[in-house]
C-alpha cells in the first residue's frame, strides 16, 4: 500500500524516533511511504489560540499540497497534526466562505479529496493476519494504551469508535502478542500545549497517568503522539517534583512496539533516544543498546 506521508515538525525534531520506527517497520507491513513535498508546520496547538484564520491556512496548505501530489490518502502519524488537518478539512467542507478565504490565502486550489488518516487507522489496515503470521518475535508484555485527547476528540472530527473507551490501539497490541490492560487514563489529557509554559500542570497530569499505569502493573505505556511521548518521557523530573514519586515505566511508540515484535533492532527503532530506558522488548530479546551516560542525569 502506497500512502502519502506528512511527518510534521516533531518527527523531524524531538520525536525523530517516531519517524525512524515508522520508516523501519513500513516495509515489513507492505507500506510505501511517500513524503509530501515542501511541507510546512500545521500550527499545532498555538495557531488556533491566537489566530483562527492562520490555524486553518497552515493545514490547508498541506492538504492542498497533498492534493497536488494526487495522494488519495495522507498518513499523519503525529496525533496533533492529524487533529489539526482533520478539523481543518471539516471546517473547510462545511463553510464555503471560509474555504474561499483560505484558498485565497494559500493561493492553491483545494477540493478536499485527500483523506486524512491517523496512524491507528493505517496500522489497522496493514497489520493483517498475514503480516501477523510473519511476526517472529511477538511482544509479550502487559501494556496500557494511551490515546490522549487528539486521537479521540472531538467526535465531529475524529471518528474514534468509542470515544470514552477506544480500542483500536489495544486491538493492535493484541495482534502483536501484548496484553493491553484496562486502566483509567486512556483518554485523559497530558497537558501538551502547556508543556513549556506550565510544566507544573503537565507534571501533575502526567503524574496521574504514570501512576495509574504503574499501579495496574503495566510494563510500558504505548503512545501514538509525539506530544504525549515527550511529556511522559522527557518530563520525568518535573513529574517527580510535583508528585513526589519516582516512575520507571517506559513510554513506547506504537510503531516501536510493532518494530520490536518484528524483531527489529533497538537502534533502528530509535529506542536509544528515550530518556527513560525501554525495558520491554520482543520475544527474541533484541539487543538493547540504550543506556547512555546521560540517563543518570535525567532520572
Amino acid at each position: 500500500m502506497k500512502i502519502g506521508l506528512y511527518p510534521g515538525c516533531s518527527l523531524e525534531g524531538s520525536s525523530r524516533e517516531y519517524a525512524e520506527s515508522l520508516r523501519a517497520i513500513a516495509p515489513h507491513l507492505g507500506l510505501e511511504l511517500e513524503e509530501i513535498e515542501g511541507w510546512n508546520c500545521c500550527g499545532a496547538s498555538s495557531a488556533h489560540q491566537l489566530d483562527h484564520t492562520l490555524s486553518l491556512a497552515l493545514p490547508a496548505r498541506i492538504l492542498a499540497q497533498a492534493e497536488k501530489q494526487k495522494f488519495p490518502e495522507l498518513l499523519v502519524p503525529c496525533a496533533a497534526c492529524y487533529n489539526r488537518l482533520a478539523s481543518t478539512k471539516k471546517d473547510l467542507a462545511n463553510d464555503a466562505s471560509t474555504r474561499d478565504k483560505v484558498t485565497d490565502l494559500i493561493n492553491m486550489p483545494y477540493t478536499g479529496v485527500t483523506s486524512v488518516q491517523n496512524i491507528l487507522e493505517v496500522l489497522n489496515l496493514v497489520l493483517t493476519p498475514d503480516v501477523q503470521k510473519k511476526i517472529p518475535a511477538a511482544f509479550p508484555h502487559k501494556v496500557v494504551c494511551y490515546y490522549g485527547c487528539l486521537l479521540v476528540r472531538p467526535a465531529s472530527v475524529v471518528h474514534a469508535e468509542k470515544m470514552e473507551d477506544p480500542m483500536q490501539m489495544d486491538d493492535l497490541m493484541k495482534r502483536i502478542g501484548a496484553t493491553p490492560l484496562d486502566w483509567g487514563m486512556k483518554t485523559e489529557c497530558c497537558g501538551a500545549s502547556l508543556s513549556i509554559t506550565r510544566t507544573d500542570i503537565v507534571g501533575k497530569l502526567c503524574g496521574n497517568i504514570l501512576e495509574d499505569a504503574t499501579m495496574r502493573g503495566a510494563e510500558a505505556i504505548i503512545v501514538a503522539c509525539p506530544m504525549c511521548h515527550s511529556n511522559l518521557d522527557m518530563r520525568r523530573k518535573e513529574i517527580e517534583r510535583v508528585t513526589g514519586k519516582k516512575f520507571s515505566i517506559p513510554i513506547v511508540y506504537i510503531t516501536q512496539a510493532i518494530g520490536m515484535a518484528l524483531g527489529l533492532d533497538a537502534k533502528s527503532l530509535g529506542l536509544h533516544r528515550h530518556f527513560v530506558e525501554v525495558s520491554v522488548h520482543g520475544k527474541n530479546k533484541v539487543q538493547q543498546n540504550v543506556s547512555s551516560p546521560s540517563m543518570a542525569a535525567v532520572s
Binding site: 515538525c9 516533531s10 523531524e12 525534531g13 524531538s14 520525536s15 525523530r16 515542501g38 511541507w39 510546512n40 508546520c41 500550527g43 499545532a44 496547538s45 498555538s46 495557531a47 488556533h48 489560540q49 491566537l50 489566530d51 483562527h52 484564520t53 492562520l54 491556512a57 497552515l58 496548505r61 485565497d104 490565502l105 494559500i106 493561493n107 485527547c149 476528540r153 472531538p154 467526535a155 470515544m163 470514552e164 483518554t187 485523559e188 489529557c189 497537558g191 501538551a192 500545549s193 502547556l194 513549556i196 509554559t197 506550565r198 510544566t199 500542570i201 497530569l205 522527557m234 518530563r235 523530573k237 536509544h272 533516544r273 528515550h274 530518556f275 547512555s292 546521560s294 542525569a297 535525567v298
Partner: protein, 188 residues
C-alpha cells in the same frame, strides 16, 4: 472598575454567537465540563463559571472573562465538549475569547508567558516555515526572560539527537500565508 468594551453593540455572548454560532445560553450550569477539565483546578474560573459569567451579559462580567487566566490555561483537550449534555463547544468559545482578550488588551498578567509562547511559536513558523525547537525556545526565553527553564532537559535532548542546532529554512512555503494575513489586517 470596568471599562466598557465594544462588541459591535452586542454583549460578549452575542459576539461569540456571531463569531462561532455557539449560544452560551444553552449551558444549564451542570458543571460536567468543570468536573472533567484537566486544567480546571488551576483556573481562576472553572469552565462552567466562565460560561455563567458570559450568560450574565454585562460589561463587568464580560471583562472578567476576557481578563481571566482560565482562557489561556485551556488545553483544547475537548474533554468538556465531548461530555457536555447540552453540546456546548467550549474549546471553540475559548478560541474566540482568547482572540478578544488579545484584541482588547485584557490578557491576564499570569498568562503573559503562555501568550509569549504561542507568539514565539507562530514567529518560528513565520521565520522557518516549520517548527525549529531550539529557535522556539530561544525566542520564548528572550520574550519572557525565563533563561533557566528547561535547561536540564535540553542538553539531554541534544545528546539523544532530539534537537538540531541549525535550522532548515522552509519559510517560502508559508510566506504567502503570513503576508496575506498581514494585508488583511491592514485592510481591516
Amino acid at each position: 472598575m470596568s471599562v466598557s468594551i465594544d462588541f459591535g453593540g452586542d454583549s460578549l455572548a452575542g459576539w461569540i454567537q456571531h463569531k462561532s454560532g455557539i449560544s452560551v445560553q444553552r449551558c444549564y450550569q451542570c458543571g460536567k465540563c468543570s468536573a472533567g477539565c484537566p486544567a480546571s483546578s488551576d483556573m481562576d474560573f472553572a469552565p462552567s463559571v466562565l460560561l455563567r459569567l458570559l450568560q450574565l451579559q454585562n460589561a463587568e462580567s464580560d471583562q472578567k472573562v476576557l481578563s481571566s487566566y482560565s482562557i489561556w490555561l485551556c488545553l483544547t483537550c475537548h474533554t468538556c465538549s465531548a461530555r457536555c449534555p447540552m453540546e456546548v463547544d467550549l474549546p471553540k468559545v475559548m478560541d474566540v475569547l482568547r482572540a478578544e482578550s488579545l484584541r482588547h488588551k485584557l490578557v491576564n498578567k499570569r498568562a503573559k508567558d503562555i501568550v509569549a509562547f504561542h507568539k514565539s511559536f507562530i514567529d518560528t513558523i513565520r521565520n522557518f516555515g516549520r517548527l525549529w525547537e531550539v529557535g522556539l525556545v530561544a525566542d520564548y526565553k528572550l520574550r519572557t526572560r525565563h533563561f533557566w527553564q528547561d535547561v536540564v532537559v535540553a542538553p539531554v535532548m541534544l545528546k539523544k539527537g532530539k534537537l538540531s542546532l541549525i535550522p532548515l529554512f522552509h519559510k517560502k512555503f508559508v510566506s504567502r500565508i503570513f503576508s496575506g494575513l498581514r494585508n488583511r489586517e491592514e485592510r481591516a
